[in-house]
Symmetry: C2
Subunit: 148 residues, 2 copies
DNA sequence: CTACATCCTGTAGCTGCTACAGGATCAAGG
DNA sequence: CCTTGATCCTGTAGCAGCTACAGGATGTAG
């Protein structure tokens, strides 16, 4: 049984796909290894040959990553959007869940930023022994132990 | 030369430090390995013994991580806040830089959230063939398909 | 004295890549 | 036809910052 072969004319090599999608070569091979992308056809010499299908898929993955989806979430989305065009409701669920994650992250970061900003504002920048920035980091009195 | 030894009475074992600081045991040992924490004294049997100094240090690190500082940043802060109580200006610089990073991250996430929220809002949840969520992920027409 | 908790070292795994090493293959110029 | 240089291949190891074992050695309570 011969592995399916392709001619160069059937598609593009990995480097071109890489440039096209803005995903670097090693990442593409990595996606193949972890089965985010199907194994493509190969030329006689063993070079990968990609067609428009893979291009769309990879572009989808890249976009998903840009939007902060994990590879697992993207996998789920790919499966849902796959051949059977499953229910949009499921897609919606994944996206909504992701939005909640994002909101939570924004909240945390916003609180953090306020705290740090306020603290830095109090900082003279001189050689003060009690630097307010170090103070918020320092936990003296907050942990249940004693002295020093 | 004998390795410095300690009695149990001199301090606490790693498990207690772990509970005290809310940092898990393996992480403490990991910090020691990467030299975020100094190697503590040991009992005759080789068990680590921690005192208040290490406790404060670990608590400082933990707090820094909570505030989103990288270990390298925290290392820098620890050095600055160290024996010489170096200039507050340097601490301030690190913190300000970190704040900028946070702001950038918040901005990205906020844009993202708006996009996703808007998209999900358009989603009926039914079995529509064209799911808007999949559409923003899909890049058809956006990639420089075939010959550029 | 026996459980059982806690400690030790060391290694491998996680996510999402990136960066080699050490070859094979391809396309173009001489 | 041959050489150069770009591109391809596989495989492994590394990044941050941990976490999770395996397989022992100790400590402590009943």
């Amino acid at each position: 049984m011969r592995p399916i072969k392709a001619l160069r004319a059937d598609g593009m090599p990995i480097g071109e796909l890489s440039r096209l999608c803005g995903v670097n070569i090693e990442t593409i091979r990595y996606y193949e290894k972890i089965k985010m992308l199907p194994a493509p056809l190969r030329t006689e010499a063993g070079h990968r040959v990609y067609g428009p299908k893979e291009t769309r898929m990879l572009a989808f993955i890249r976009r998903g990553r840009e939007l902060g989806f994990t590879l697992d979430q993207i996998r789920a989305l790919l499966n849902l959007g796959g051949p059977e065009k499953a229910s949009c409701a499921e897609v919606r669920e994944i996206a909504k869940h992701h939005i909640e994650d994002i909101r939570a992250k924004i909240n945390d970061l916003t609180k953090l930023e306020r705290l740090l900003r306020k603290t830095v504002a109090q900082c003279s920048g001189g050689k003060v022994p009690d630097c307010p920035v170090l103070d918020i980091l320092d936990t003296q009195g907050r942990i249940k132990t004693s002295r020093t």
